[in-house]
């Protein structure tokens, strides 16, 4: 996203910001240590599926942390943000004690600040580009914690700001899928005055935010508040509607929809296709997390069942694997194991998540890969055969390749296995729409700059374009698509 340097400068020169800078000398600011996020005690938190591990900063902590920010003339932090949040502005609002102002600033560019503040890998994005990290070689300003603080403060105060919306222009557009990409797109388009309808296949809005990310990282209630905000702005949500099945694109065009943003996500689960993988008790991470997060299966009052294993193995090393294994722990697993074929250092999961998982007693079995599953006479899994792995030459992505160590097999008793080795793009829309250019692996091909597909009125973003990626990248795509669809429709109507 391009950053308007002039606008940034104007904002930075405003009196209140200049005053704030004078209030404290830079050397005093840099002398402060980065605030530690208060966390729930591991032994307590593993008993609750829906209590957040990170408790959130207090006002005092937030103001102190915000004061560390030097309000750089060239905010390099913003270069790391896929949605170009005006970071110095919102951080300085917190420094000044105007938390609602901070929240309003966030909402100028991000539709879901409470979500991003919790799930973004800031350590790879804004915080990696912070002046502290780059030049001072010290801990970055805790931008993520502050974003969460501002969003939470606003929500809890009951004084949620509703961003300004341009007068309705009467042009009907649709977003397919209600995950972060669509929500971000919808937020931008409704501000521009469009008539926006978001179609969702499931019975709950939010996509991966609801079914994928567990409540102990991102409570569903928080997602609901952000959704309510969008509804207040005028976005329409339709549940239980699968575009391409319930009605086709042609049907919707006949009903007046002029353009579409496809963000149907990467919800197709991947398996390893090894012998025994279809035994009972072996689930994809999607199935496991959907049962627990979306269908509340862990709660006996809800009808959907879930297997509560005592010896649980989760295959994989990403955030989804962490979410799955920590959920299993919370559901009563005595052994909750991660089985990953590379080393700890190469695990793609956020360092914070791995750290939390360790504290919660998750066992990490690295340099190990399953090759076969065994079951009892009823077909219920009871053991997984592991093969030890070594690390060989780096592959084309720079990470060392796992190398099989022949003859090193051994068995681990398990009663539940969750396969979290990645997801693939949802095949529905690519298969339903002719003339839509799709890659060999099922992702919709788009122009990188405009997010427009091979069909002019169809734009796409998020995991359906990237394969599986992060929430914030999906949101960035949504914003880009919104800006470009706006151009496209304006020129169509001129």
């Amino acid at each position: 996203m391009s950053i308007d340097k002039e606008y940034l400068q104007i904002e930075r020169e405003k009196e209140w910001r200049a005053e704030l800078r004078k209030k404290m000398a830079n050397k005093d600011r840099t002398a402060l240590n980065r605030t530690k996020m208060p966390e729930m005690d591991p032994y307590v938190r593993i008993q609750f599926q829906n209590k957040e591990v990170n408790i959130g900063l207090t006002e005092e902590q937030a103001r102190q942390e915000a004061s560390r920010c030097l309000d750089c003339p060239t905010p390099t932090c913003m270069e790391g943000c896929p949605v170009s949040i005006n970071i110095p502005k919102f951080v300085k609002y917190i420094d000044a004690g105007d938390y609602l102002g901070a929240a309003k600033t966030l909402k100028e560019t991000s539709a879901l600040p409470a979500v991003c503040g919790r799930v973004c890998p800031q350590e790879k994005q804004c915080e990696a580009n912070c002046f502290y990290t780059q030049k001072l070689k010290k801990d970055a300003v805790a931008i993520g914690y502050l974003e969460r603080f501002a969003a939470d403060y606003e929500r809890e105060s009951g004084l949620m700001s509703v961003p300004e919306v341009a007068p309705a222009n009467g042009i009907k557009i649709a977003a397919i899928g209600s995950g972060p990409s669509s929500l971000s797109f919808a937020g931008d388009m409704i501000k521009r005055g469009y008539d926006v309808t978001v179609f969702e296949a499931l019975h709950e809005i939010g996509g991966v935010l609801k079914y994928g990310i567990p409540e102990f990282r991102l409570p569903n209630k928080i997602v609901d508040v952000e959704l309510e905000n969008l509804q207040k702005m005028g976005v329409k949500f339709v549940k239980n509607f699968i575009v391409g099945k319930t009605s086709s694109f042609e049907d919707l065009k006949a009903e007046g929809f002029e353009a579409f943003f496809v963000a149907s996500g990467a919800g197709l689960p991947r398996f390893m296709n090894i012998p025994g993988e279809n035994y009972n008790g072996i689930l994809s991470s999607n199935e496991y997390l959907t049962r627990v997060n979306l269908m509340n299966a862990a709660n006996d009052e809800f009808d959907t069942p879930v297997i509560k294993g005592k010896n649980v193995a989760v295959i994989g090393g990403g955030n989804t694997a962490m979410d799955s294994v920590r959920t299993a722990k919370r559901l009563g697993a005595e052994r909750a194991m991660i089985i990953y074929r590379r080393s700890r250092a190469e695990m793609p999961a956020r360092v914070e998540e791995v750290h939390h998982a360790e504290e919660e007693g998750i066992e990490f079995i690295n340099l190990a890969n399953p090759v076969e599953y065994f079951a009892d006479e009823k077909g219920k899994v009871n053991a997984v055969r592991i093969q030890r792995m070594g690390l060989g030459e780096p592959d084309a992505s720079g990470r060392r390749s796992p190398v099989v160590i022949e003859g090193s097999e051994y068995d681990i008793p398990v009663d539940l296995v969750v396969v979290a080795v990645g997801v693939s793009p949802n095949p529905l829309i690519p298969s339903e729409v002719k003339d839509l250019k799709v890659s060999r692996w099922g992702t919709i091909e788009v122009n990188e700059d405009t997010m427009q597909s091979s069909i002019p009125e169809l734009f796409a973003g998020g995991d359906i374009v990237r394969g599986g990626a992060t929430v914030i990248l999906a949101m960035g795509d949504g914003r880009k698509a919104a800006a470009n669809m706006d151009e496209y429709l304006k020129s169509k109507h001129s």
Partner: protein, 328 residues
């Protein structure tokens, strides 16, 4: 009209001329053409595990640009493997639906677990038999002959454990005691052995100063090596033997039958002349048998092998002594 039916791959075949694994046997339409031309069996294009590795590297460099999330690419090799396997299984199912000619799946793997997985899957998809394409070029200076040989026996044992359809192997000639090892391999429970797998050879271009690949297709002189060993081994081992490489004419094909081969596998001649080459080979073999008064293949198979009465010449034709004796 002579009966040219035979038995190889553990199956009864209507002809001893088999369409070998090659790029031509990777597409259903071409496979059907070969079946209709009279091939006794068709070996589908091999799945190569190494190919999957290379595809993965390509995909990783492509995807790394637009997707900065390593979680998506972490197990991507499984995605490529599954896609490759899926297409292969569909090919098997497609071909099986359109012809009754036996369809043999050909597999080449690196790790033993993958051999077993692929073998199981091709059986489930309906393949009539499996050929383990054992393509180990002994160019690793650190390995011993024991390492290499062990691999063959372990792999065969593992695959035999997981499938019921007959298992055959195709090997190269790089063994220190070829006769000994072929004999031992023939006792493992496999249905057949095909000699010999041909390695692509590098060549040098002295003008551009580069290493290039030499001709991919076989030349007609290439048949002499497998012919020699067919003659030596066919009567002495416990399973059926087939030969491949350089079989371009019906005369050559007949030589192999006389040497004791139950079948021959052809690729280059089909590549050059089309599927009709198979029809021609079948016709010519039958005509020759009629001329010589052989009613079935069994009547003439191995008539001139080493174990037949007439053939001390097999060994004699190789010894220095022979050349020493003859005056120039």
């Amino acid at each position: 009209m002579a009966n040219i039916s035979t038995r190889f791959f553990g199956l009864d075949l209507k002809s001893p001329v088999i369409a070998a694994s090659s790029s031509m046997t990777g597409h259903a339409e071409q496979v059907i053409k070969l079946a209709e031309a009279g091939a006794g069996a068709i070996v589908l294009k091999s799945i190569f595990e190494e190919e999957i590795y290379h595809e993965l590297q390509e995909e990783l460099s492509l995807r790394s640009k637009i997707n900065s999330d390593p979680e998506y690419l972490d197990y991507f090799d499984y995605v490529i493997k599954e896609d490759t396997l899926r297409k292969y299984l569909l090919l098997i199912a497609d071909v099986k639906a359109k012809t009754t000619v036996p369809v043999v799946a050909s597999v080449n793997c690196v790790s033993s677990n993958d051999w077993m997985l692929f073998a199981r899957k091709v059986e489930e998809a309906g393949a009539d038999a499996i050929e383990l394409n054992m393509f180990i070029c002994p160019s690793d200076v650190t390995k011993t002959e024991v390492n290499n040989e062990q691999f063959y026996f372990e792999t065969i044992q593992k695959v035999l454990q997981v499938v019921k359809i007959p298992v055959s192997i195709k090997i190269s000639h790089y063994f220190s005691n070829l006769a000994g090892i072929v004999n031992r391999l023939s006792k493992t429970g496999i249905a057949g052995i095909t000699i010999f797998n041909r390695f692509y050879s590098p060549d040098i271009d002295v003008n551009t100063l580069t290493v290039v690949s030499s001709d991919v297709l076989s030349s007609s002189g290439d048949y002499l090596l497998p012919l020699k060993w067919t003659g030596i081994l066919s009567g002495q081992i416990s399973c059926d033997l087939a030969a491949t490489t350089g079989i371009h004419t019906s005369e050559t094909a007949i030589k192999f039958i006389l040497a004791g081969a139950s079948a021959i596998q052809v690729a280059s001649v089909v590549y050059n002349e089309g599927a009709s080459a198979i029809t021609r080979l079948n016709q010519d073999i039958a005509a020759w048998m009629d001329q010589k008064g052989f009613q079935t293949l069994a009547d003439c198979k191995g008539a001139l092998s080493q174990t037949s009465a007439a053939s001390q010449a097999w060994e004699r034709s190789q010894f220095m002594k022979y050349f020493g004796e003859k005056a120039f």
